[in-house]
């Protein structure tokens, strides 16, 4: 059994951090089972579950038929039995066949049965673009899940958080949608696609506790303190916002939300009340995106502190294109322009 806390750290990519979280959770609790497409022998197309089948046996880590509804539906049955399934959907773009099982079943099990049955399950999926994945390997469907009562939605932005948040998600008594920004698996991509990406081994957030250390769900983290404007971001957009602040010279306070549901409103509110301005950045399409929820929430909570309209920088309301990827992607220029606009308002 892993010790509950340890101060020893080691450099990991986000993939290694996610693998380490699986490993420690499986070692600690034999109720944790892992399955999904290609996750067994091969260890997943992104290798996040590599080595787990060899270490824990094929009853606890195995390949699933290519049927997302089946993967989530079987996971729900396992959770009803009392196991703690951690399932992988190969790409978030593939999750839609499982949507009914997630929305109508996993999310409502506790409520509809008044606690008779519950669904302690993690549904992991790589999300977001920037890898020339076209419309079926690039989407950011987080708002489809934040809209659903009963789900928790987590988007880590770095290896340290990915490990700690995944460990928390596995132990959370409710279903957790765990969206892994695939463009961040190997380094903190900031949207400058024509430049090399710093590998995680050269980034402080690539320093990951070796042991079993949970990062609590529902807590945002301020990535950059600033006084001029609050930027709400998550996943890849945290780094895009950082570089945009640097390049525009605007003293932005950048909040990495980490958990979208439940949302850490106190951290957001304190920052917006301090800066009086707010820019929301996400890669997903704009209309009815999570930014709309954030904007409404900030307006309700901070209206009398606002000195400018809240702005959103998002993906366009188009399918995610292939060749036009960087025209779609809300990169540093667009975020920087929004920062300037909100300062000039």
């Amino acid at each position: 059994m892993a010790s509950p806390t340890t101060s020893a750290t080691t450099r990991m990519t986000m993939i290694e951090a996610i693998r380490s979280a699986h490993d420690l959770a499986m070692e600690r609790d034999e109720k944790v089972v892992v399955f999904g497409e290609d996750v067994g022998y091969f260890g997943g197309v992104f290798r996040c579950t590599s080595g787990l089948q060899k270490k824990y046996g094929s009853h606890r880590c195995f390949d699933a038929p290519i049927n997302e509804s089946g993967i989530v539906g079987a996971g729900i049955g396992m959770a009803a039995y009392g196991l703690k399934p951690v399932v992988e959907i190969q790409f978030a773009d593939y999750v839609y066949p499982a949507y009914d099982q997630i929305v109508s079943e996993a999310a409502r099990m506790r409520h509809r049965s008044a606690g008779d049955f519950t669904c302690q399950m993690v549904i992991r999926m790589p999300t977001g673009g920037g890898i020339f994945g076209g419309q079926t390997h690039s989407q950011s469907p987080e708002a489809l899940f934040t809209h659903v009562a009963g789900l928790k939605v987590v988007v880590p932005s770095n290896p340290r958080d990915a490990k700690g948040l995944l460990l928390a998600a596995i132990e959370d008594p409710d279903p957790v949608i765990f969206l892994e920004p695939k463009r961040l698996y190997n380094g903190p991509f900031d949207g400058h696609h024509d430049r090399p990406v710093t590998p995680w081994k050269n980034h402080p957030l690539g320093e990951v506790p070796e042991g079993y250390e949970i990062t609590p769900l529902g807590k945002a983290e301020i990535r950059r303190s600033g006084s001029a404007v609050t930027v709400l971001a998550y996943g890849t957009m945290v780094y895009v916002a950082e570089v945009a602040a640097e390049e525009s010279g605007i003293d932005a306070e950048i909040i990495d939300l980490r958990t979208l549901m439940p949302l850490d409103l106190p951290t957001i509110q304190a920052s917006v009340e301090k800066t009086g301005r707010c820019v929301i950045v996400h890669e997903a399409t704009r209309t009815s995106g999570f930014g709309a929820e954030l904007s409404a929430t900030v307006q309700e909570a901070c209206f009398y502190h606002l000195e400018a309209p809240i702005l959103r920088v998002t993906g366009w309301d188009t399918p995610y294109p292939h060749a036009q990827e960087w025209a779609y992607f809300p990169g540093p220029d667009r975020v920087g322009a929004a920062l300037k606009e909100v300062m000039e308002a």
């Binding site: 089972v33 049927n67 049955g77 039995y81």
Partner: protein, 410 residues
């Protein structure tokens, strides 16, 4: 170049609509006792014929005949008859209660009582059913309190589900009854997952999945079949073919296949059809499938051939889409009449005892209803508090829900 003609579809239609004379002459029904009984460890390939036959035990005279004659003693058979009578009377009383405005909705089992009542007796405590809304016999035969079922139907302040679910969408983990969804077919794959979990945990319990003929079209049916097949999961996969999915006859879901049981063949899953109106046959086939699952031999697909003699629900009017005479023309008879005749035939029952038993069942249901109505109905008495609807969305209420509850004044 071949002769090209405009293409056409086949849109399946039932043989009988309102005003037509019911005709079941093309429904091939083997004689009771005719279907063979393979060993549970037989090669699935060698049992393919079972998907085209029908296991039947009680013959027209009421005798139990053939290789599927089971191990139930007369006392157990009388229990079974009482369970079915209880379910039927329960349905009658709750239908009236719905008509009286005491609840919003109800669904009866008329004609299908043997399926869930007999099946339950082949399971052990600790096994888990993933039912549809038409298997309340699993609860009744499992001695779940009748008044608790009514409290759920009434959504009163003793409703175990706190007024959150439509009537009849029970949940009873301690009685091996998974929370009913209402979204069709989702439970079929969940049952397979539960069975897989039992095997992963090294347990001995088995799962039982339920679905109707219509919902076998759902993708989750096929997901369940492939998962059950791939992992050899300890699960019994039940299709209740009651001929009608609301107004859609079973041919629309079955398509060009001859039977629903046949769906098992593509997955290498042993598949049988059973006379769903024959208590003895349902029990025997269920026991056979449960023995297979418990022996590590994997899933079994059972098509229960029955007839939905009532409406789909209290919101349905079957006379709008099928002949009123079809139910009485249904060739497999009534499950209660058939078990009653069998018990009389073997000298373990009589008309007098039946009348007496029915009176007792009526009294039991009446007393339970009185008890339940003390706690209110949907339209009278105490209700679960609005405050409680914010509970159980999550294990721990997140701040936004606390805020919403306060804003609502609850």
């Amino acid at each position: 170049m071949p002769d090209s003609k405009p293409l056409k579809l086949r849109i399946p239609e039932p043989g009988c609509r309102p005003g037509d004379q019911p005709d079941f002459s093309d429904f091939v029904i083997p004689r009771a006792g005719e279907a063979r009984r393979p060993e549970i460890d037989s090669d699935p390939e060698a049992m393919r014929d079972m998907a085209f036959s029908i296991v039947r035990v009680i013959n027209k005279k009421g005798e139990a005949v053939g290789p599927w004659v089971g191990a139930l003693d007369p006392e157990e058979l009388r229990d079974g008859l009482r369970h079915m009578l209880t379910l039927r009377v329960f349905d009658e009383r709750m239908t009236v209660a719905q008509r009286q405005g005491k609840t919003s909705f109800y669904m009866v089992h008329l004609g299908e009582e043997a399926v869930s009542c007999a099946f339950r007796m082949a399971l052990d405590d600790g096994d888990m059913n993933f039912p549809t809304y038409r298997q309340a016999g699993l609860l009744i035969a499992g001695n779940y309190p009748i008044a608790s079922m009514m409290n759920q139907i009434y959504s009163n302040d003793q409703d175990p589900l706190k007024g959150r679910q439509l009537p009849v969408m029970y949940s009873a983990k301690d009685h091996g009854f998974f929370t009913i969804s209402g979204n069709l077919g989702t439970q079929f794959i969940q049952a397979v997952g539960w069975g897989m979990a039992s095997a992963i945990a090294g347990d001995t319990k088995i799962a039982s999945a339920w679905i109707g003929d219509g919902a076998t079209s759902e993708s989750d049916f096929h997901a369940a079949m492939v998962f059950a097949s791939t992992y050899n999961a300890p699960v019994i996969l039940n299709i209740v073919n009651n001929q009608w999915a609301i107004s859609t006859f079973q041919g629309v879901a079955r398509g060009n296949a001859v039977t629903f049981a046949e769906r098992g063949h593509g997955f290498g899953i042993p598949a049988l059809r059973v006379d769903g109106n024959d208590y003895l046959a349902v029990h025997a086939v269920a026991k056979w499938a449960a023995d297979r699952a418990r022996a590590g031999l994997g899933p079994t697909l059972i098509e229960h051939v029955t007839y939905r003699a009532g409406g789909h629900s209290t919101s349905d009017d079957p006379s709008a889409y099928r002949s009123k005479e079809e139910g009485s023309a249904w060739p497999l008879g009534d499950p209660i009449d058939r078990l009653k005749r069998h018990l009389i035939e073997i000298g373990e029952w009589s008309e007098e005892r039946h009348t007496q038993a029915l009176a007792e069942v009526n009294e039991t249901i009446r007393a339970a209803q009185k008890e339940a109505e003390k706690h209110g109905t949907l339209t009278s008495g105490n209700k679960p508090s609005p405050r409680s609807m914010f509970d159980d969305v999550y294990a721990e209420m997140p701040p936004h829900l606390v805020a919403q509850r306060q804003a609502g004044g609850y």
